[in-house]
């Protein structure tokens, strides 16, 4: 996960000093384990690139910094998707980013599904061409089941994230229209 982008996102929300920023970083993303001083290191790197500037011990995101953060927030995820990186984006997204992130999650889910489909097709092809003994066949199934379970967990997780974000977006939209948020479940 890019600590720099998370710090940049926190500064895009509001300017802050180094100490408070470190605290906000750990509060906002409690599931990730940041090293001590991670925010300070990130601030140095961001300052060098011109994404952040310091005025009277208070750090602010520059216009190019905000632009860089937004493009990271809306970019495609790594493949396979990385938990902390996605969670960071969800933690920092603003209502206006939600449709983009829903699309990012949808794309990631589709890409994972396509990988699994490809894996299935290749496995079938190999099984058909090989004359497997009982034990070999069992081991082959076990290996495939292991890989499939790995993808299973990720794809279900992506689906849950997307469904949750869609509900949040519907609620926000209704609120903006002045209507009562839809009482939806799941």
């Amino acid at each position: 996960m890019s600590t720099g982008m998370v710090v940049l996102g926190l500064l895009a929300e509001r300017p802050d000093n180094g100490y408070r920023l470190e605290r906000r970083l750990n509060e906002r993303l409690s599931s990730a384990r940041f090293e001590r001083g991670a925010a300070q290191h990130a601030l140095k790197r961001l300052s060098m690139r011109g994404y952040v500037r310091c005025v009277e011990e208070e750090y602010r995101a520059t216009a190019s910094g905000v632009e860089r953060f937004e493009s990271w927030l809306r970019s495609a995820t790594a493949m396979p998707p990385e938990r902390d990186e996605l969670m960071a984006r969800l933690a920092l997204c603003r209502p206006g980013d939600m449709p983009h992130l829903i699309e990012v999650l949808r794309e990631a889910e589709l890409a994972c599904t396509a990988r699994l489909e490809d894996l299935n097709a290749r496995t079938r092809e190999q099984e058909r061409s090989a004359d497997l003994q009982d034990w070999e066949a069992h081991m082959s199934v076990a290996a495939i089941a292991g890989t499939a379970a790995w993808w299973d967990a990720r794809i279900k997780w992506l689906g849950d994230l997307r469904a949750g974000l869609q509900r949040a977006w519907l609620g926000y939209e209704a609120e903006q229209r002045g209507a009562a948020p839809p009482r939806t479940r799941r």
Binding site: E109, A142, A149
Partner: protein, 245 residues
């Protein structure tokens, strides 16, 4: 090849009390052709069974069209839809018989009306033998293992020789080996009988023998576009495992 079953922007909502609405299906589009197995894979409680019920015409969607063999299910009368379910659409689920009867009678039951008891028994025997559960014929449901029950359920589904088989999460209780066997059997049946199979599954392991599969969450069905391209001879690595030593 034209689709035997086609769902076009189908939506379905369930009211939960006076205040809650669950969007079970939202603009779901899906096609199933003859001789192919399509899996819909989702967690439990995400609308898999609802999708199959809509596909079978048991439940009418709130929006969209369901077309089976060129017929729009919404335009058919209840009687016509029932006939479709009795003759052309097979429903396969893990639930057992309500009566304590031998497996053969359970499989033969839906056939007896159209064929008579003797012919129904013969057809049921054939179906049980085809799925590899011939030795279960005289046994009762309670004495069958989970994977045997899955085979018997498939036998019951194919006994009437339907065009479309709807399989509702049959592998949920099975281990990887049994799941693989059951899905392999469904794929073989689809190809030898020109049968369209729409199968709901709750684990990725069950998608191994499907021709295509989609995920379902938040009411939305996602299916990767295009057919996968098998690449012969490639080594399948576990994700993140790195190169082999």
């Amino acid at each position: 090849m034209t689709a035997l079953l086609s769902l076009d922007r189908v939506s379905l909502h369930y009211a939960r009390g006076h205040r809650h609405v669950v969007a079970v299906l939202a603009d779901v589009s899906l096609e199933v052709r003859a001789a192919e197995v399509v899996c819909v894979w989702a967690r439990r409680g995400r609308g898999k069974t609802a999708l199959l019920r809509v596909a079978a015409g048991i439940e009418a969607p709130d929006g969209g069209r369901v077309v089976f063999a060129g017929k729009d299910l919404a335009c058919l009368s209840d009687r016509q839809r029932s006939r479709l379910l009795a003759q052309e659409i097979g429903w396969v689920a893990g639930a057992g018989p309500n009566l304590d009867v031998p497996t053969l009678a359970h499989v033969a039951m839906p056939l007896s009306f159209a064929h008579g008891a003797r012919a129904a028994s013969r057809l049921a025997h054939d179906a049980l033998r085809r799925v590899g559960a011939g030795d279960c014929a005289a046994r009762h449901w309670a004495s069958l293992a989970d994977w045997e029950r899955a085979l018997v359920a498939i036998a019951r589904g194919i006994a009437r020789e339907p065009k479309l088989l709807l399989v509702d999460d049959l592998t949920a209780m099975l281990g990887p080996d049994e799941t693989d066997e059951v899905m392999r059997l469904l794929a073989a049946l689809a190809h030898e009988r020109d049968l369209a199979v729409l199968c709901s599954v709750s684990s990725a392991g069950a998608t191994g023998w499907s021709d295509r599969f989609a995920t379902l969450s938040g009411g939305e069905l996602l299916m990767p576009p295009g057919e996968p391209t098998p690449r012969r001879g490639e080594v399948i690595g576990l994700p993140g495992a790195g190169p082999r030593a």
